[in-house]
């Protein structure tokens, strides 16, 4: 090992240390941004070191440089542009897209390595080069690539976000699994001696993995999507680690394993917050087949509809208001309007705080990001366990586009939301719900809170409804 190679290895170690410290700093909102910067510094160091390594190796052909630089610059430009431009409400699908391309790149590294090794030295050579890692990289990378693209499309609305189930999907999944794993094991145990056969077999594994990624994510419903994205994120990490084995590179192995493990933990944390189990999510279908009859009696119950003026007066003369933002607020991008209303109420001496359910918004923690964007200090955002005891002392709970996370039915067994921790909105003295229609939430069940006598329903788009409330408060009580 030459001096340059030793130096590069040391920089890789430094980069790995940066990744670990960066992730660790992400444990607290106060240090999180610095954590990301530390991690980015490590990334730059790793890339520069690799650049030094390949310049030192001196085997890169001019056209190779063009391909590398143009490719990386093109991708980086696209990434930069989309990261800068994206609305905060569309973050989840963008993360999923980045996840897809990461998994895709990892798979390509293994495919390239396999193709060059087989054409240069015969398939038998592969055995000594860690064919296991190559096969795992292709399978995991391809599943992640296809699955993340589908997840991204579902969140964007290009693909229906409800569970898509078609007949024969089980059989298709079994066939795909057999091809994927069977082909992989065949490649590992007894690689075909002819190059064409070996590459053909890998291609079959690749196609089956891509198809499996699609059929795995399609039947999963919108509410579970964040957990799936997190799971696919962990998959990509693992695929990258496998790519590290393939190209014998330490920083890929370390960073990939870090993301694989921390992504796995994060997936579990998210699933726990929604009281869902990861296997149940992957098997699919939020509440499919569950009893719908449990709360059916409520559906025809008497709703009390309120107008902006009534709601405004109720809010303006309250002494304590808790705002419960949900998915509807995120979808309508009404975070700035909600802050305006809160500021207005505070200026009248109303005590305003925000109750954030762990899975409010489109993704755990997403609501915090949106409200932070609207300059709401995060000290005003209260987590579920902390704020639930406050509801009985609250005059008005203002629910904006939230549904399942406040459904009292969750306290009873036997329905799709059973056991999910909820915000005790029904304990407040009165409730105003801003909602576009009586449509059900992800769980697809009615919410008995809406027909509660102390609840007023204000049917409006979150953004428009809040703007009208602000105007009404201003004109009515000055």
């Amino acid at each position: 090992m030459s001096g340059v190679e030793n130096g590069v290895e040391l920089v890789y170690l430094l980069a790995a240390v940066c990744f670990v410290i960066g992730l660790h700093l992400m444990n607290s909102p106060a240090t999180a941004r610095r954590g990301n910067q530390v991690s980015a510094a490590g990334m730059i160091a790793a890339v520069v070191a690799t650049l030094v390594l390949i310049i030192h190796a001196g085997t890169v052909k001019p056209i190779g440089w063009v391909v590398l630089i143009v490719g990386a610059a093109f991708g980086a430009g696209l990434g930069l542009l989309s990261a800068r431009r994206v609305a905060m409400t569309a973050i989840p699908q963008l993360v999923s897209l980045f996840n897809a391309v990461g998994g895709g790149a990892a798979a390509i590294v293994a495919i390239y390595d396999f193709v060059t090794t087989t054409t240069n030295g015969g398939a038998a050579e592969m055995g000594s080069k860690g064919i296991v890692a190559t096969v795992l990289d292709v399978i995991i990378g391809a599943v992640t690539f296809a699955g993340s693209l589908i997840a991204s499309g579902k969140l964007q609305g290009t693909i229906s976000s409800s569970p898509i189930v078609f007949t024969g999907v089980r059989i298709l999944n079994i066939v795909l699994t057999v091809v994927m794993l069977g082909g992989g094991i065949w490649l590992i145990a007894a690689p075909p001696t002819s190059d064409a056969a070996a590459i053909g077999l890998l291609a079959a594994v690749l196609v089956a993995s891509l198809a499996f990624g699609v059929t795995m994510v399609l039947p999963i419903g919108g509410a579970d999507m964040p957990v799936v994205i997190s799971l696919l994120n962990a998959f990509t990490g693992t695929a990258v680690a496998m790519a590290g084995f393939v190209v014998n590179n330490s920083v890929l192995i370390i960073a990939g394993a870090l993301v694989g493990a921390s992504g796995g933990i994060l997936t579990k944390l998210m699933a726990d917050a929604m009281n869902r189990s990861i296997p149940a999510i992957v098997v699919g279908g939020f509440g499919t087949g569950d009893s719908a009859g449990d709360t059916a009696a409520v559906a025809g119950g008497s709703l009390r509809e309120v107008k902006a003026d009534d709601a405004a007066i109720q809010l303006a003369y309250a002494s304590k208001v808790i705002i419960v933002p949900g998915y509807g607020l995120a979808a309508a991008q009404a975070q700035h309007e909600v802050r305006e209303l809160a500021d207005l109420l505070e200026s009248r001496g109303v005590d305003v705080s925000y109750a954030i359910h762990p899975v409010a918004g489109r993704m755990p923690g997403h609501m915090n990001v949106l409200l932070a964007e609207a300059n709401v200090p995060y000290s005003l955002l209260r987590e579920m366990d902390e704020i639930n005891p406050d509801f009985p002392r609250t005059d008005v709970a203002l629910v904006i586009g939230a549904n399942d996370v406040i459904n009292p039915a969750a306290r009873r067994p036997g329905n799709p939301v059973s056991g999910m921790p909820i915000l005790d909105v029904d304990h407040a003295k009165s409730v105003i719900v801003i909602k576009r229609s009586m449509a059900t939430g992800y769980a697809g069940i009615d919410n008995e809170l809406y027909s509660d006598p102390k609840t007023g329903m204000y049917f409006a788009d979150a953004k428009k409804g809040l703007a009208e409330l602000v105007a009404a408060v201003k004109t009515l009580v000055g």
Binding site: F19, H24, M26, P29, A30, A32, R33, N36, S39, A40, M43, V47, T50, V60, K61, G64, V67, L68, G71, A72, F74, G79, L80, R84, M88, V95, F98, V101, G102, G104, A105, I108, V109, Y112, G237, V240, A243, V246, N249, S250, I253, A255, G256, A257, L258, G260, A261, S262, G264, L266, L269, A273, Q333, I356, G365, H366, V369, A372, P377, E383
Partner: protein
């Protein structure tokens, strides 16, 4: 690096990954996922190593796609995470609500710009 050494590094890194984010608040789940997402953009290093030995059309095509994919993952991932976290600014809760608008002109102008961005 022998396969055994590589495997040891892999297992130990997994353990570090399990421990390092054990008690993260739900507030940070989305940014953390995004941060982890950008770290696996390190696959760019793998894409660069492809270029070292590529010498035919297939190699160049695969190298190009891998470099583009990885470049998008790493740059986009870090930028979007930073943008998200940049919004978690710690500000004192104003005692008098009028301070919200008058107190911090810099923050306000940033917020205004974002508003403009959103409505565009």
């Amino acid at each position: 690096m022998t396969l055994l050494a590589a495997f040891s590094i892999f297992v130990l890194s997994l353990l570090v990954g399990f421990e390092v984010i054990s008690k993260v608040p739900a507030t940070l789940h989305t940014p953390l996922m995004s941060a982890a997402n950008s770290i696996h953009g390190v696959v760019l290093v793998g894409a660069m190593l492809i270029a070292v030995s590529a010498d035919n059309a297939i190699g160049y095509i695969l190298g190009f796609i891998a470099a583009a994919f990885a470049g998008m993952n790493v740059v986009g991932g870090y930028v979007v995470t930073d943008r998200m976290l940049g919004m978690f600014r710690k500000r004192p809760v104003p005692p008098a609500p009028s301070a919200v608008t008058a107190g911090d002109p810099v923050t306000e102008s940033v917020a205004d710009r974002r508003d403009a961005e959103l409505t565009r």
